[in-house]
Symmetry: C2
Subunit: 199 residues, 2 copies
DNA sequence: ATCTGTTCTTATCTTTTGTTATCGTTTTGG
DNA sequence: CCAAAACGATAACAAAAGATAAGAACAGAT
């Protein structure tokens, strides 16, 4: 049974390796703090208003991150397989999370506490470097997201999604979540689809 | 004459100190690479399409960062006194910058090459930590910017600006730049102002 | 298999925003 | 100091998006 934990840990290390090559010692600083959680569809991993303290790594499943305002939800991000998942901003700032993260399917995650990661930052240069590179990675993603919202029309944003890497993955999420991700209403997105598909 | 350079360097060190306390040795790794540049109003500090390699620190002046698309410009950020200024994304990714940065007034900056900073990252733990904290700082700012664009109406975004820290500084920049910063046209922003001021 | 709730489309109506053009006013450069 | 350019407000019209509601297709649960 612990096999699955070890295998998952290996996957996470592989993922982190894309950012930085950690020594075995550095890696072993994190490994004992890993555990696996299972979530049912529609279960929350992070709840708005609570200070987030867990970092996850998606082993299986789909998640959405969203803001709520006057009962209306706006999706800001989708998380898929083999991705780090967290209300990272809340972890960093230690302020209550403005967003919730919800499983859109039954899901499995490897998780560990952010305080552990933070301690590793100051303890090991490899982890400190990972912290920088990961933050830079998120930064670039956010900049592109912001630029899209500012520069592209709703139709262009939809088309960009269709051409993106996550094209096929997004087919598994309800369209009204995608609509709010694009900053428009589901009705408006339906019109856009209608306008485009005929081609 | 070198006095001004030293004084500027002290200001930069003070600014960086908000992120991390550098040892004298760490600081001296950067100091020799600092220089001062003067820009005239409307002069570009970073040009779209060129790989940026300079980090600046605004000593005096106002700057705007903007995207261009089919001749239309959208401002993504304003930079003021005592702020680090760069097409950081371009520096990090070593890809041509999608944005330009333009002085909106005669300006003075302290500058240094990004490659120097990058070398300091791997050489000193203090600098590595600064790299992480700075990236995290930018990340949080971008997340808030994105959330604003996704969650707030144009009018709410304008009101948020009026209540922001940079309230007074923004009075010195032409309104049509602010309009594109909010993701709307100058005409639309004029309507919003009209709608609001009567109160 | 049926029932219930969700999801998506479509239609209608309203509101908001963009577009274009005009007109004072201010700023800037020669 | 003057002419030209830039700036901001406003009006009129067109285009796009939001709100709401109705209905069809689909999935999940009992």
């Amino acid at each position: 049974m612990n096999d699955s934990l070890h295998q998952a840990a290996r996957q996470l290390r592989q993922h982190i390796h894309q950012f930085v090559a950690l020594s075995d010692e550095e890696w072993h600083g994190l490994e004992p703090h890993l555990s696996i959680i299972h979530l049912k569809k529609n279960q929350f991993m992070v709840t708005q208003g609570v200070v987030a303290s867990q970092i996850g790594f998606v082993l299986e499943g789909i998640f959405r991150q969203f803001y709520t305002k006057e009962g209306e939800e706006r999706t800001t991000y989708f998380f898929f397989d083999q991705q780090l998942i967290a209300a990272y901003m809340s972890c960093i700032t230690a302020r209550p999370s403005p967003v919730s993260i919800e499983a859109l399917s039954d899901a499995t995650c490897l998780v560990f506490p952010y305080p552990v990661l933070k301690a590793l930052f100051s303890q090991y240069t490899g982890w400190q470097e990972f912290g920088r590179l990961f933050a830079e990675y998120v930064m670039v993603a956010l900049e592109e997201r912001m630029a899209g919202l500012l520069m592209l029309s709703p139709e262009e944003r939809y088309l960009a999604l269709l051409e993106g890497d996550q094209r096929h993955l997004l087919q598994r999420v309800p369209q009204h979540y995608i609509a709010t991700y694009l900053g428009i209403t589901p009705v408006s997105m339906s019109r856009i689809r209608n306008r485009i598909i005929p081609k």
